[in-house]
Symmetry: C2
Subunit: 228 residues, 2 copies
DNA sequence: ACCTGAACACCGTTCAAGT
DNA sequence: ACCTGAACACCGTTCAAGT
């Protein structure tokens, strides 16, 4: 029988972040605690704090690791590239729903961190390739990034909510619930929202997301009088 | 000397929510605890739980109260109305930075709640007034709402971060810090972000925000071939 | 019906002590 | 240098007991 050391590899920041991502994927942000992490890594709390300053830094590192992987493949040429980058982020957020909250936290709390530049760089590169003048890059890029993160976060939440509602309820079932709730609103106060209820029920998420991306792109094109 | 009862008014859900908003404004989301709340209301924890199911419900109620107030005044006519609604939300989030996180939480976690319909209704009404066809209202409205919440949240975070960095540091000082950090990035990996650094430092927030709103509106107009 | 406040389970973080 | 794990302060929530 082979003798094993307690852990195959020594503890490292990398291994801790890796484990954190796994826990986040399985149990969400509230599920990530130092106790769960110490068990999974077969270590003590102090050991984790030797490699990572605190929980915030751990979440930032986990977020950056996932985002870096999602943006690693530089996608297609200019016209189609924006959509590709947007969709890569959309899928990453869909697969790691906790990303949505974390991304806005990283953008807000520490724009000097690693995550924000990474995303700005990928999106900005594509936006510039469209022909947007240098001094409008920030406005155009910001608008696009805000839309992407918001819409992708909404999509991820829908999936997560459906799962949380019960194993029998799928995504369509969840959206149906929302739709019904909106249809039950007061007709005098909420005429528009009631009318939107149908569209909430029927919409395809990816299609809807890309339609929004196209809409923002159309705005960028129009404002800067670019060729399509 | 007048005899007073312990509290001027009896405890009520309304009074609790009101106190919660005050604490959130003064100390942020982490500053809102049941202990702080019980002290301020001169009561016990159980009393609060009699009126409110849990902390989540309290946050939802606080969010709804502030949003309802911000959207209470129905603004100008169609063309200018969208900007007015957007700016109302922008200002509300600026004055209550915790709103940014809470709004995306409410949209994600409980779109059937009170907050999401309220915002969709205000924004949707204005978007429809632009002439957007009924079956595109959801796409157009969602895109605009995502942009508004994202950009306003970013602005609020900048203000809050500046305050947190120290009393001597104002907003310009904070943006300068971010700008410097971006300028220090690797020129090979982050050419665009480095170029954006200047614009981060110089931008006026409200102007920037409205430029983004106009960009999304231009997209809506272009996609639906509306008159300007 | 409405409120009190001690108690519970759990959390992030620290730190003296080990190797 | 790296790790252990008990201890600390704090948190949301519950609940038997009061009025």
């Amino acid at each position: 029988m082979v003798t094993r050391t307690r852990r195959t590899e020594a503890l490292s920041r990398e291994r801790i972040v890796e484990a954190a991502v796994e826990v986040l994927d399985e149990a969400g942000e509230n599920g990530l605690t130092f106790r769960v992490l110490t068990e999974r890594l077969a270590t003590g709390a102090g050991a984790i704090y030797w490699h990572v300053a605190n929980k915030g830094e751990l979440l930032a590192a986990a977020t950056d690791a996932v985002v870096a992987a999602a943006l690693a493949v530089e996608p297609a040429e200019p016209p189609e590239g924006v959509r590709a980058v947007a969709l890569n982020l959309f899928v990453a957020i869909e697969n790691h729903p906790w990303l949505a909250t974390q991304l806005s936290a990283q953008f807000s709390r520490s724009p000097w961190g690693a995550v924000a530049p990474r995303i700005f760089e990928s999106v900005g590169r594509q936006v510039r390739a469209l022909g947007v003048p240098e001094d409008s890059l920030f406005t155009a890029g910001s608008a696009l990034v805000h839309y992407i993160l918001g819409a992708a976060g909404q999509n991820a939440a829908n999936t997560a909510n459906a799962r949380a509602l019960g194993p029998g309820i799928d995504r369509a079932g969840f959206l149906d619930t929302v739709s019904k709730a909106w249809e039950g609103l007061d007709p005098d106060d909420y005429p528009i929202t009631r009318a939107l209820a149908k569209q909430v029920r029927d919409h395809d998420d990816r299609e809807q997301f890309l339609a929004g991306v196209d809409l923002v792109l159309a705005g960028i094109t129009a404002v800067h009088a670019l060729d399509k």
